[in-house]
Amino acid sequence: MTEQNLVEVRGLKKWFPVQKGFIERLVTRQRQFVHAVDGVDFEIRCGEVFGLAGESGSGKTTTGRLILRLVEPTEGSITFDDVDLAALSDEEMRRMRQRMQAIFQDPFASMNPRMKCGDAIGHSLEIFDVAKGEEKRRQVLEMMKHVGLTPAYILYDKYPHQLSGGQRQRAVIARALMLHPDLIVADEPIAMADVSVRALLLELMLQLKQEFNLTYLFITHDLATAKYICDRIAIMYLGLICEVGTLEQVYRNPQHPYTQALLAAVPVPDPHARRTAPMPKGEIPSPITPPPGCRFHPRCPFAEQVCSQEPPLLRPVPGDEEHLVACHLV
């Protein structure tokens, strides 16, 4: 593979301390941590859509925030375009963020309710001294047309609450693109949208990717949606990646029992294809005290003794260098 990596993540960890009461702290003296991200390695290649999928509590969102350095890692490194982000000063990091932008799930929460839509979209131009006044307005209007926020000159002066959900999410996308970033971290960007709007937003994101030469980190819990946008995908469980590969490899030939269960669990919109596969018992355990060995072993129908003793490493599936899986039984 000669493709260049835009982002390289190595041994990334984020532990959040558990808040305790004063008395409890005196009594136990033991500090506990939520192992939100507990040692993940992956790379995002230039121009691809890299999916990060998992259930709530798997650490996918924290991983996205770590890449943007919105939270500081406990351990590990993140390299963006060959620059080690941890080595950057706050000011250098701030400038670096021109090249990495975020789209979040709730477009209502991520837009200032007192700021006109157009001003919000163009705010970053002012912050980074790229353009202001008439020039800013011109650039914003042009971007609004690109993302389908039309008639742009009318919507420019609307406040977020005057826009529909789909329009708000388009505004958030437009805002993320204003500085022509290289990487977009999209955290559940369409989860709030209605079914008929979702397809439109996905199509828009793919079209903009071509136009602006973007690379996406697409974070989602919805494997059915991920199928339509991702090139490669990593499945996370309890702070670790359990399987990563191309969409084809992971969806058509899932190796990890967790990936298999996750794929089987997605309800299919076809009554002829009702699910018959049994589901793993129980729910995702607490990330404060993750199970030893393979984190999935207490729920895994195939677990053997070794699974409860040794954590499996992420290794290539025999005969398939690009497809990695962390399971003793493969």
């Binding site: 259930e55 709530s56 529909s164 789909g166 209605d194 079914v195 008929s196 709007v197 979702r198 397809a199 439109l200 996905l202 199509e203 819990h221 919805d222 494997l223 059915a224 949606t225 199928k227 339509y228 969806y251 269960a261 996750l262 794929l263 089987a264 669990a265 997605v266 309800p267 299919v268 919109p269 076809d270 009554p271 002829h272 294809a273 009702r274 699910r275 589901m279 793993p280 018992k281 729910e283 995702i284």
Partner: protein, 320 residues
């Protein structure tokens, strides 16, 4: 077909706002038969949740029922006084909501919830007997009996949702209205919950109105499906013909725009436009501005719900 449990005739619900009246449910007629799962599907704002709340007369003011009839057990619910309605809720018609955390009292143990539910409606049942029933119930839900004395926050999201269905079953309600029961759950937990619901439904011949935007969940569980758009019922049919050959262009568009993990195609079909503003709905068929097959008539005249084929109803001029 078996006997009807619930019959809704020409029901309309209005929400007066300062800019005009929103007709959230517009002249909807539906029958729910004993032992069936009726899926009620549509996008946000189509009126499906409002319809569910209207059945239990739990509409939040200023929402009000503007017309129609809801017949349950030979009574028109709209004619009952508040006390009779209160006795009916929970005992005869139960509801499961989307977010179990906000529906369970954080200061009450799970056992208190169940015991209170039973004894409110059946005061003759002793505390002990109610507790015994609660233990039996929780076992049926696949939750260990020792969790009975836990508080809601000690349970996982999936368990809390199981408790909600348990509360709905506690009094053997004739009808369960489940409003987005799996939307707050992760996909594996959702699948577990659907398995449980399917199993209970079969064992106890439950009658369920399943309200959801998730078409996969509808396909998984429903016997019949009602599709709503902009407050209107646009199509009603058995689940198989509805998915195999949808009649209404909206149903067709909706089904085509749903991501399907089991197919190999990598493009979603796109439905243009978005649902109308219900303060100023378009004249004629409310779907006509987005409809690929709209005709002149659709723009002026509203199509009635018609039985197009036996057991298949649609509101569309294409089937005139």
């Amino acid at each position: 077909m078996s006997e009807p449990v619930l019959q809704i005739h020409n029901l309309s619900v209005d929400y007066p706002t300062h800019v005009g009246v929103v007709r959230a449910v517009d002249d909807v007629s539906l029958t729910v038969y004993r032992g069936e799962v009726l899926g009620l599907v549509g996008e946000s704002g189509c009126g499906k949740s409002t319809l569910g709340m209207a059945i239990l007369r739990l509409l939040r003011p200023p929402g009000k029922i503007a017309g129609g009839e809801i017949v349950f057990d030979e009574h028109n619910l709209l004619g009952l006084d508040d006390e009779a309605m209160r006795r009916l809720r929970g005992a005869h018609i139960s509801m499961i909501f989307q977010d179990p955390m906000t529906c369970l009292n954080p200061l009450q143990r799970i056992s208190d919830h169940v015991v209170e539910t039973i004894r409110t409606h059946q005061p003759e049942v002793s505390e002990q007997e109610a507790r015994r029933q609660a233990t039996e119930l929780i076992d049926r839900l696949g939750i260990m009996a020792e969790r009975l004395d836990d508080y809601p926050h000690q349970l996982s999201g999936g368990m809390r949702q199981r408790i909600m269905i348990g509360l709905a079953l506690a009094l053997n309600a004739d009808l369960i209205i489940a409003d987005e029961p799996t939307t707050s759950l992760d996909v594996i937990v959702e699948a577990q919950f659907l398995d449980l619901l399917k199993d209970l439904q079969r064992r106890f011949n439950l009658t369920i109105v399943l309200i959801t935007h998730n078409i996969g969940v509808i396909a998984e569980l429903s016997d019949r499906v009602a599709v709503m758009y902009a407050g209107k019922l646009v199509e009603l049919a058995d689940v198989y013909p509805l998915f195999d050959d949808p009649l209404h262009p909206y149903t067709r568009g909706l089904l085509n725009s749903v991501p399907n993990i089991s197919l190999t195609e990598d493009h979603l079909q796109i439905m243009s436009g978005s649902p109308p503003d219900l303060i100023n709905p378009p004249p004629g068929c409310k779907f006509h501005p987005r409809c690929p097959r709209a005709m002149d008539r659709c723009r002026v005249e509203e199509p009635p719900v018609k039985e197009v084929q036996p057991g298949r109803w649609a509101a569309c001029w294409l089937y005139e």
